[in-house]
């Protein structure tokens, strides 16, 4: 009976090669390219091509569902491996920090400016409103458990800016609290909300800017403006920069969806999406660093001048890292 079946003979002749390809793929999927021996590397392309042609033949001559489904899966795995990425995760990370991240940030110039204006424009507005009448403070600051309100004494406000005794545990706790404080979440929100044409991103930025402005105004009103700026900016340069960039990433996507130009809306979103995601990943990294600065730097350093120096230093470093001209990437100058 079976000798009449062409499909059976066809399978019998090629089965060993299919199994060999499957073994190589299984090995490569668990251990990577380096887990393969030289012989296996040599055999792989030939076996893959053979499996692909087997699939075409099997579709036209065999009615064994299992064989066709098996070959379909095998060829797909082979395809993804043969034409898949060659770089390791470490290589990807190195590329990201060396050129992809700064290049992505540089390509978002206009969006960054817009995000900056949203955050600091709202900040300046709420600051000036609060300076004329401190009642405005209650409009912008809604934190229910914060003692730092217009009702607090100046001495209390001053005491919140400096730590007299420093314990390692306090620093760790502050660091952990910072990580938990959803800053990275706000950054990713700002990125993701960009999809709704960027409007919610703008609102999020303005809301945070207004809260910040009211906060600074409160301290400035008591003659603590210089001190509070140092207290904020030692980590705030990094943190606010990160939030601005996250907003910029959101605006990139929003802009691409709202104004696709000559591309289709889908293609435009996809084109901007990759770069915006790199900017957003960068924000998460920056917020992690900001948490370190806030947890340790701010508690250890209680001298305003040093705080300002660190703030200025981080700003210079970030600006130089992102915008220093003449740094070509691997795919040509960006």
């Amino acid at each position: 009976m079976s000798d009449l079946l062409k499909s059976y003979r066809f399978r019998e002749e090629r089965e060993a090669d299919w199994k060999a390809l499957e073994a190589i793929l299984r090995r490569a999927e668990t251990g990577g390219v380096r887990a393969l021996s030289d012989d296996q590397m040599m055999a792989l392309p030939g076996l893959y091509r053979q499996a692909v042609s087997s699939l075409s033949v099997a579709r036209s001559i065999s009615l064994d569902q299992n064989v066709v489904a098996y070959l379909e899966g095998l060829c797909m795995r082979g395809y993804f491996f043969v034409y898949g990425p060659r770089t390791t995760l470490a290589q990807k990370a190195a590329d990201f920090f060396r050129h992809d991240w700064p290049a992505a940030v540089r390509s978002a110039g206009l969006s960054t400016l817009l995000a900056f204006l949203c955050l600091f424009g709202a900040g300046a507005l709420s600051f000036s409103l609060c300076m004329t009448d401190m009642d405005w403070f209650w409009t912008f600051q809604t934190g229910m458990f914060d003692m730092r309100t217009p009702n607090a004494s100046t001495d209390y406000l001053r005491s919140t800016l400096y730590s007299e005794e420093v314990y390692a545990e306090d620093m760790l706790a502050a660091f952990a609290a910072q990580l938990f404080s959803h800053n990275s979440r706000i950054a990713l929100f700002a990125f993701a909300l960009g999809f709704a044409f960027g409007l919610p991103t703008a609102l999020l930025l303005m809301y945070n800017g207004a809260m910040l402005g009211a906060f600074v105004a409160l301290f400035t009103d008591r003659g603590l403006g210089y001190e509070v700026t140092g207290w904020l900016m030692i980590h705030g340069v990094t943190e606010l920069f990160a939030i601005i960039l996250a907003g910029a990433a959101g605006f990139m996507i929003g802009g691409a969806v709202a104004f696709p130009g000559r591309l289709s809306r889908m293609a435009s979103a996809r084109e901007a999406g990759g770069r915006a995601a790199q900017v957003a990943l960068g924000c998460v990294v920056m917020l992690f660093l900001a948490a370190l600065l806030e947890g340790f730097g701010r508690q250890l350093i209680n001298v305003d001048a040093v705080r300002y120096t660190i703030a200025g230093g981080t700003l210079v470093i970030w600006l130089a890292y992102f915008y220093r001209p003449g740094r070509p990437g691997p795919g040509g100058a960006s």
């Binding site: 009976m1 079976s2 009449l4 079946l5 499909s7 059976y8 399978r11 299919w18 199994k19 999927e29 091509r49 692909v52 042609s53 699939l55 001559i61 065999s62 009615l63 569902q65 299992n66 098996y70 379909e72 899966g73 797909m76 795995r77 395809y79 993804f80 898949g84 990425p85 995760l89 990807k92 390692a168 545990e169 760790l172 706790a173 660091f175 952990a176 609290a177 990580l179 938990f180 990275s184 979440r185 990713l188 929100f189 990125f191 993701a192 999809f195 996507i253 889908m266 979103a269 996809r270 999406g273 990759g274 770069r275 915006a276 995601a277 790199q278 957003a280 990943l281 992690f288 947890g295």
Partner: protein
């Protein structure tokens, strides 16, 4: 090619025709989810887009895995710091903070950047992430599709759990309805794209691992002892089509002996086969499968696909 329905069709036949229509509708649904990827070798791979149910299931599994890992690690850190005699939560809290930070932001990214391009949940369900243009799945695409999850899951949930007075409850409800659009976005397009997929240029395909099973016809070697006892007439092997052959394949590979017995009885009745004394159901089914497949494959070589028993 199919036979026109007659007015005098008996009820059983009517039932079969309805089953056939359902099957066709199902097949059409699968076809709508199938995309062709032409490899550089010129062969076409058939990719089936993962359904919303599969995607949701995979996400649920991942969610459970993610937080099981999280809880285990938190308990381990708590136990470890207690053993070392460290009072308070400062050090443990900081460690947990770092850990949860990475778990929340990079669980999906880490696995999808891996060689299988799938999280454990996706692997269990048999899904993988690929670039829509069939090219390499880039790291930034994986980042984009996962960071977008904030508005697909995070946003609706934060609206849902919005605390406060009646006004806030209304805002929460409207916010939830608005952001629910993002959550159910995959149902609103042909390619079952999430917002994240749309922005990243990816889609999620069904890529299960299929094991190569033994060919059923190989159980009856040519010229074997039982070979001669099953000689089917041409009319008997014309009784069924490709669909019935595939059903029979599934029955032989997966079903219990009782079901096989019932199927064997149905086939014997349909083709008018007189069971010989001592004939086993399994032998009969395997022999008939071999004969039917040989006939149908032969017809296929001549360019005729007999899709099912209604086909001529």
């Amino acid at each position: 090619m199919s036979r026109a329905p007659t007015d005098t069709a008996p009820p059983a036949c009517e039932e079969a025709r309805r089953a056939r229509q359902r099957r066709k509708a199902w097949q059409a649904r699968i076809d709508r989810l199938t995309r062709e990827l032409v490899t550089p070798e010129g062969a076409a791979l058939h990719l089936r887009i993962g359904t919303f149910g599969e995607r949701a299931g995979a996400f649920l599994i991942d969610f459970i895995i993610q937080w099981t890992i999280g809880i285990i690690i938190i308990l381990a850190i708590a136990w470890g710091t207690a053993r070392l005699g460290l009072s308070g939560w400062a050090i443990g809290g900081a460690l947990i903070g770092v850990f949860v930070f990475f778990l929340r932001n990079f669980y999906f990214v880490w696995f999808e950047m891996g060689r299988r391009a799938a999280t454990p949940g996706k692997r269990i369900v048999g899904l993988r992430v690929t670039a829509r243009d069939g090219g390499e799945l880039k790291a930034e695409a994986v980042l984009a599709r996962n960071f977008m999850r904030e508005i697909e899951v995070g946003l609706p949930l934060s609206f849902l759990f919005m605390a406060g007075d009646e006004l806030n409850a209304w805002i929460g409800l409207f916010g939830f309805l608005w952001s629910g659009v993002f959550m159910f976005f995959p149902l609103l397009n042909r390619d079952r794209l999430r917002v994240g997929d749309l922005v990243a240029g990816t889609w999620v395909i069904h890529a299960p691992k299929t094991k190569l099973l033994k060919d059923i016809t190989s159980a009856r070697p040519p010229g074997g002892a039982a070979e001669g006892s099953f000689a089917f007439s041409p009319a008997q092997v014309e009784a069924y089509g490709i669909h019935e052959l595939h059903v029979l394949e599934d029955v032989l590979r997966r079903s219990t002996p009782t079901v096989k017995g019932e199927v064997a009885a149905r086939i014997r009745q349909k083709i008018g086969w007189q069971a010989q004394p001592g004939e086993k159901d399994l032998d009969f089914l395997e022999a008939y499968y071999g004969a039917l497949r040989a006939r149908l494959e032969q017809r296929m070589l001549f360019g005729e696909r007999k899709e099912d028993k209604f086909d001529r």
